[in-house]
């Protein structure tokens, strides 16, 4: 006996398997137990979900319906087909035929066996529909769990990550307001306020984009763009966040890199990568950004000389809320959304982001984007 391990509902699986076993015992005239299989039909493809028979039963297929004339006929007519090699019984689905039971071997079935088969097909139909319902419920439960987690992580971000720049803004504003700040420091206070306001705006935008991605999905607003211009703008926007010992090194071809892309989203992707490079190189150093392209794709590299990470853990960086927190990095604030969103944005454009990194030698994030 064989049952499809991808049918996740055990009760439905057993029901289908028992029904198929019963079908295999509708013996031929010479008293042999036959091979019986059950196939589920999804967009013209038949996938075996249960099999039973005298031999060590292995699943057959998958088949395209057009490959097997008898299967195709049973599905299109909704009638039992007996072609001497198989008896094929259609199984009712949500709308129309949802699968078939195939009994192999020559020597047709008598009237009583046919009636029994029709009953077996009804049981299988019930099992398949139940399995589909359970799967749907499982997906729904999984989705709710994700949203629940999203909600609690957002509360956590609001409690910590949003409060931190807010505290600084309030503090400087209060000193400007009550005149307690020495005059020479007014410029500093204003630039810190503006920096922290930008940080809050980026945080809120990352939260909203993540929420949208989870619920409705992001729809790109595509237009002809010059990738170099987007890179330049992202660098310009992030320059105020650099420490005194950071500096940008930009290397790129001088020609425009024409692409069709979502300018705002690509800017978010790049500012998130640059923000990450600045945050995780607390001792400063060069942040190198380079763009290359050929006819098919553009490659943007963002490289820092910071603390780096273990290459085995690198993939965790791109998971939602995935932050690698060690005693050395625990004080660095972050939401775990920046790199996740950056990669989702690259992927929505048909590209991707990967990372090469070693502890102490910094990280290089590689963005590839297809060019139209």
């Amino acid at each position: 006996m064989w049952a499809d391990p991808t049918v996740t509902d055990g009760a439905s699986n057993n029901l289908i398997l028992e029904a198929v076993r019963l079908a295999s015992r509708l013996t031929s005239a010479d008293g042999q137990v036959r091979e019986a299989s059950c196939f589920a039909l999804h967009s013209d493809v038949l996938t075996c979900i249960a099999a039973s028979g005298p031999a060590e039963t292995q699943p057959r297929g998958p088949y395209r319906t057009s490959e097997q004339a008898a299967f195709d006929r049973a599905i299109t007519t909704g009638e039992v087909v007996d072609d001497d090699a198989h008896v094929v019984v259609p199984v009712a689905g949500e709308a129309g035929v949802g699968g078939i039971i195939v009994i192999e071997g020559t020597g047709g079935l008598d009237e009583g066996q046919r009636t029994a088969l029709a009953a077996i097909a009804r049981i299988v139909s019930l099992g398949m529909r139940q399995a589909a319902t359970v799967t749907e419920l499982q997906l729904e439960a999984e989705r709710s769990r994700r949203l629940e987690r999203l909600k609690s992580e957002f509360l956590n971000i609001a409690a910590h990550e949003l409060r931190s720049p807010l505290g600084i803004i309030r503090g400087y504003a209060s000193m400007l307001g009550d005149g307690t700040l020495p005059g020479a420091d007014n410029g500093l206070a204003l630039s810190r306020i503006s920096e922290k306001t930008d940080e809050m705006a980026r945080l809120i935008s990352d939260m909203l984009e993540t929420a949208r991605l989870e619920t409705l999905g992001l729809e790109l607003e595509l237009e002809p763009v010059d990738l170099l211009e987007i890179v330049d703008n992202a660098v310009l926007a992030m320059r105020p966040l650099m420490g005194p010992s950071h500096h940008f090194a930009l290397a790129s071809t001088r020609d425009d890199i024409a692409a069709v892309a979502d300018k705002r989203r690509l800017t978010t992707m790049l500012t998130n990568l640059i923000d990450n490079a600045i945050k995780y190189s607390p001792a400063g150093g060069e942040i190198e950004i380079s763009c290359e392209h050929d006819d098919r794709e553009a490659t943007i590299l963002v490289r820092d000389h910071g603390i780096g990470i273990n290459s085995e853990q690198a993939h965790l960086l791109f998971t939602r809320f995935g932050r690698l927190v060690t005693p050395e990095t625990s004080h660095i604030r972050g939401t775990g959304l920046g790199l996740y969103l950056a990669r989702e944005i690259a992927r929505l454009h048909g590209g991707d982001i990967s990372v090469r990194s070693n502890p102490d030698s910094g990280s290089t994030f590689v963005v590839t984007l297809p060019l139209a």
Partner: protein, 113 residues
């Protein structure tokens, strides 16, 4: 930011950028007062507080926790470990910070961690 205000109010301030530096400054500078953040590289603020309290040389120095966190459990833990007050950064403007130190020691020198 807090330093600017404290200096303007006549205090002298030294800053430790991580837990270990803070502990070293607490011993070397023998400050009158310590502001302690919780999220620090290496040693976190609670560990720093425990060590300050465990060392005869620093045991008597008043400590106020100044953090981005405001959860009641953290507040309770900080106070249990001997912090004088627990201030949340977002709710504390620099003037209030200066007042908090005046409440305990009056205008003099203080390092913060």
């Amino acid at each position: 930011m807090y330093r600017l205000r404290l200096v303007a109010d006549g205090y002298s301030v030294v800053i430790g950028h991580d837990g270990r530096e803070g502990l070293r400054l607490a011993t070397d500078e023998a400050p009158d007062f310590i502001y302690l953040d919780l999220r620090l590289p290496g040693l976190d603020g609670f560990e720093v507080l425990e060590r300050l309290r465990g060392d005869a040389a620093t045991r008597h120095i008043p400590v106020i926790i100044l953090s981005n966190y405001g959860e009641p459990e953290l507040r309770e833990r900080g106070l249990r470990l001997g912090a004088l007050e627990f201030l949340v950064k977002a709710d504390t403007n620099p003037a209030q910070l200066s007042e908090s130190v005046e409440r305990s020691i009056g205008p003099r020198a203080l390092p913060s961690v």
